[in-house]
């Protein structure tokens, strides 16, 4: 037998024929086609029973109701709660992405202790014992006032527990992270004599004059503002946006008026000048329910004529006059302020100028106007009994200088703390608790904040996420995240009715985390004495249930409790000033320095441009960082790869020799960064706009290392009237890189 080429070919042909007659080729073809349609690496959601849990989102102070959709025991989607008075079914992109905060890699999974610069897991009992020992030591030295706490809010049971703990321990150094809430509170306090919350009846306003407030960029309660913005469009309401940059809000407004940054207060006073001069103000309100008008009027007529204001603001005189007429001529005009999302308190006098505009048109505590809401009053715990150490500690006062001397009216001045710590030989704070806030990222001049944190010997973070502040802490005692815990959410920023929300556990805690409230109660109990007595509850949930009392059942059922019949106190009862009227000026107000535009840091000779931050719904710039889904939505004119883009006017770019997409070095008195340039006609010449919310160094690989944190480049500017941070930007320089 001879096997030759022919035999081989014949074997192959036989094989081919056999193969064709077998299922092999046909099945393989079919299977490979199917394989391409259902890639094995594509995640497939598991099937299971669908259920819904109503809760409240606390990722921002907006207080939206949410409905979490679950499949078996896993949250698969978060939607807006239908019928909720704040957001009625709507949700923002951050709220929508909450599932990634629940299951994502940025969670702190167990209590951690820093040993030789690295975090090690520690048991809850050991961690609490160590912290309790440290606090006991400090107290026995008579230095209880060296204990401080930074909290994201000062409302609700958790922050009340924290501040109660500090008080009974002997420290007045409980502090809240800054926001426009500080300025609005002071404005109400000084002009209306009330300690309350500002609510805006935006749904009923027909002419909204926004001094840089990002109505659809996250100001107030974002979803509510989106809905209000749509309702104005449908009902023929007008929006005038005043800011140096064509933000989304400006783009969607009826009129955008670019203004020299930082001079918004001058414009408000200029508008007041026209309104007064033309006598188009609400005489009924001004004559019968206000005080100090004549004095204020003289000051306004003398100092803020359209001619003068034109020079300061860069806005044409005719525009100022017609804007004043339109505003005063509307049925329900409303002026709002607080730049962007309102994370910086801003200039108090600017807020008062804008509030005075509202008063001129008589829309204080009226339909479509600015309302004064009482502080939530449901937390009524037993009176504290304090020992002598505690009383002595409290008498030593606050480190940040709030409530004394020149900043008599301020309650918290966190912005002053880094400087005070850094300039002292020994840190005046020895133990610091940080709860639901990330000052290491959100505070201006991050490098000095970092330096101050390094100087504080003992920092405890309660963060659920590995954020910048948690990374600097000595202990991380992770709280359950908002989807895993019960918690009262006492207000919705800017909402015009008192509302209490209740966050409910949507799922069981996923990791070895613990209620911050429980940690405080345990700490107090382990310290004994009056401190233990001040916390009679077995645990946080018991405390919360007892505190909410009769409201509990309704809160568990609905997710919120509202006073539907609430209306703002009228003009007669609304003002608790010495004159019982709205005060345009008063002795207190006169004792503050006069309005002057806040000057940005840095000399014009070395820094010829001005850097301003801008906020966007797609970039979470607060305590919470962008989850992966949200960072994916950021346009490549904002973030390209890992590069941040700054916006400059083509005219400015021409002068600097920069073109679209070019690298440049952005320098301010606080530092410098490599950025890319995006040419944008919607930014005034001479200004560089940079998005806030990028440049995280912590969290996870999806967020860290992308772009630049604008707080590295901007420092705080102390408002001479309030002590709060009034920085709206900083002088800067941009050169080719």
């Amino acid at each position: 037998m001879k096997i030759d080429r022919r035999s081989f070919l014949s074997f192959v042909i036989g094989g081919a024929a056999g193969t064709a007659l077998s299922p092999l080729p046909w099945k393989l073809t079919d299977d490979s086609a199917i394989w391409t349609q259902a890639w094995p690496w594509t995640p497939v959601p598991t099937d299971g029973e669908a259920s819904y849990v109503n809760s409240i989102c606390s990722l921002c102070p907006g207080g939206c109701g949410i409905t979490a959709r679950k499949i078996d025991n896993r949250v698969v989607k978060i939607e807006g709660m239908k019928g909720h008075p704040v957001n009625d079914g709507g949700i923002c992109v951050l709220g929508l992405s909450g599932t990634q905060l629940l299951y994502g890699p940025m969670r702190v999974k167990a209590p951690l202790k820093k040993v030789n610069g690295r975090f090690r897991q520690i048991s809850w009992d050991a961690a609490i014992a160590e912290i309790s020992n440290k606090l006991g030591e400090l107290r026995s030295k008579g230095e209880s006032n060296k204990f401080a706490c930074i909290s994201g809010t000062d409302r609700g049971t958790v922050s009340e527990l924290l501040s109660r703990f500090l008080t009974v321990y002997g420290s007045a150094n409980f502090t809240r992270t800054p926001s426009i809430q500080d300025s609005y509170e002071l404005t109400l306090h000084l002009m209306q004599g009330v300690q309350g919350i500002t609510g805006f009846d935006v749904e009923n306003a027909d002419f909204v004059l926004s001094f840089g407030s990002g109505i659809i960029d996250g100001w107030g309660s974002p979803v509510r503002m989106f809905k209000a913005n749509s309702s104005w469009k449908n009902a023929g309401g007008k929006v005038v946006q005043i800011e140096p940059r064509l933000s989304n809000t400006a783009a969607k407004s009826d009129k955008w008026i670019p203004i020299n940054p930082g001079t918004e207060g001058a414009l408000a006073l200029g508008l007041a000048n026209v309104i007064i001069k033309e006598s188009i103000y609400n005489t009924s309100f001004v004559n019968n329910y206000s005080a100090g008008f004549d004095k204020w009027k003289r000051h306004i007529l003398d100092g803020y004529s359209p001619e003068i204001v034109t020079k300061v603001t860069g806005i044409d005189k005719a525009v100022i006059v017609s804007l004043a007429r339109d505003f005063a001529g509307s049925k329900k005009p409303l002026a709002i302020c607080g730049r962007g999302q309102g994370r910086t308190p801003g200039s108090l006098k600017e807020f008062m100028a804008v509030h005075a505009l509202n008063a001129l048109v008589g829309n204080i505590n009226k339909k479509g106007g600015v309302w004064n809401l009482p502080e939530p009053d449901y937390i009524n715990w037993t009176e504290l009994k304090m020992d002598s150490v505690a009383s002595t500690g409290i008498q030593k006062g606050r480190v940040d200088g709030a409530g004394i001397e020149k900043y008599l009216h301020a309650r918290y001045l966190l912005n002053r703390l880094p400087e005070i710590i850094n300039s002292a030989d020994v840190s005046p704070i020895e133990v610091l608790f940080v709860s639901e806030s990330n000052p290491g990222y959100t505070m201006p001049d991050t490098s000095s904040v970092k330096k101050a944190f390094e100087k504080i010997p003992f920092v405890v973070s309660f963060s659920s996420y590995m954020d910048e502040t948690a990374q600097m802490a000595d202990f991380i005692l992770p709280n359950h995240i908002y989807l895993e815990r019960y918690e009262d959410v006492p207000v919705a920023t800017g909402f015009q009715k008192p509302i209490i929300g209740l966050s409910k556990p949507v799922v069981d805690p996923q990791f070895n985390t613990k209620y911050t409230g429980d940690v405080i109660i345990h700490l107090a109990k382990s310290m004994g004495g009056f401190i233990a007595d001040a916390f009679p509850w077995e645990n946080y949930e018991a405390c919360l249930k007892e505190t909410l009392g009769d409201r509990w059942d309704k809160l568990v059922e609905n997710g919120y409790w509202i006073e539907p019949e609430f209306t703002a106190p009228g003009w007669k009862e609304g003002f608790q000033t010495a004159s019982t009227r709205f005060e345009f000026t008063s002795d207190d107000i006169n004792s503050l320095s006069r309005y002057a535009p806040v000057k940005p840091e840095g000399d014009k000779a070395s820094f010829d441009l001005v850097l301003i931050p801008y906020d966007s719904m797609r970039l979470a710039g607060g305590f919470i960082g962008d989850p992966p889904f949200v960072i994916k939505t950021v346009e490549d004119t904002v973030l390209k790869g890992k590069d941040i883009l700054v916006e400059i006017n083509p005219a400015t770019a021409g002068k600097l020799g920069l073109s679209e997409g070019r690298y440049a070095k952005l320098t301010t008195p606080k530092g410098s960064a490599k950025v890319k340039v995006h040419l944008f006609d919607g930014i005034m010449p001479g200004i560089v706009a940079m998005p806030s919310g990028l440049g995280h160094t912590a969290y996870d690989k999806f967020l860290a290392g992308k772009g630049i944190n604008i707080n590295q480049l901007i420092g705080p500017v102390e408002d001479s009237s309030s002590g709060h941070d009034a920085a709206w930007g900083i002088n800067a320089k941009l050169v080719k890189a």
Binding site: G15, A17, G18, S22, P23
Partner: protein, 229 residues
């Protein structure tokens, strides 16, 4: 390089006697056919016997299950365990919680039962059942539309699994990851019963035959979009 002499020799050889030539051709032709047959048979063996064995992996279920015994004990047939939820969605393979209703303690004396209680009930772990009839994620299939609205019996698609006394091995297509029951046991795709296979054509045939709505209830789109939403 061949010389002139070589070429002459070659010519001489090719012009050898005809008889010899034909016998040589016959022998070589036989070989060719033989090799053709060898190739044919070998490839048929590969295609029909080896290939299916390679294509499908066989896995046993984590524990065995006797449908027949359970069917005798329950009152509502298949739906006693494979029920519809209040919202109309179909529960599919029962969860441990359902089993625990009766199997909190060991029932009967089989070893299988003892393992089930020890490994799953006591440890509160779900049994990782392998689902023979699992369709891929790209297919939208509503049990309630077929069972409740159209009144189709479970057997029509799932066969007589309810009468089985044990669970057969689960065969998974190594390429597609699908259960073999979707393509069917028969490698050519022939089927005798409707439950023998459940590929796209089988769905389409039945929809055509039953003259059901040709568009999706949710999206009103027709053709592919009835099942691929």
């Amino acid at each position: 390089m061949s010389t002139l002499d070589d070429q002459t020799k070659e010519v001489t050889e090719t012009s050898s006697p005809e008889k010899e030539e034909s016998s040589q051709e016959n022998a070589s032709g036989g070989f060719i056919i033989l090799f053709f047959i060898i190739g044919l048979i070998a490839s048929l063996l590969v295609g029909w016997i080896i290939f299916p064995k390679l294509l499908y992996s066989k896995k046993n279920q984590p524990i065995d299950f006797n449908h027949a015994i359970h069917m005798d004990l329950v009152e509502e047939g298949c739906e006693s365990c494979h029920f519809f939820r209040e919202d109309g969605s179909y529960s599919g393979v029962p969860k441990l919680a359902q089993c625990i209703d009766c199997h909190e303690e060991v029932q009967g004396e089989t070893e299988n039962e003892a393992v089930f209680v020890a490994e799953y009930v006591e440890k509160q772990t779900e049994v990782p059942w392998l689902v023979y009839s699992r369709q891929p994620d790209c297919v939208f299939f509503s049990h309630v539309a077929h069972v409740k609205t159209a009144g189709i019996d479970c057997v029509q698609c799932h066969g007589h699994i309810g009468e089985s006394t044990n669970l057969k091995a689960y065969e998974e297509n190594r390429i597609t990851g699908y259960s073999r029951d979707i393509y069917g046991k028969n490698m050519l795709g022939y089927k005798k019963n409707p439950w023998d296979r459940m590929k796209m054509d089988d769905c389409a045939d039945c929809h055509k035959e039953m003259k059901v709505a040709q568009s999706s209830v949710q999206t009103k789109k027709d053709a592919c979009f009835v099942c691929h939403k």
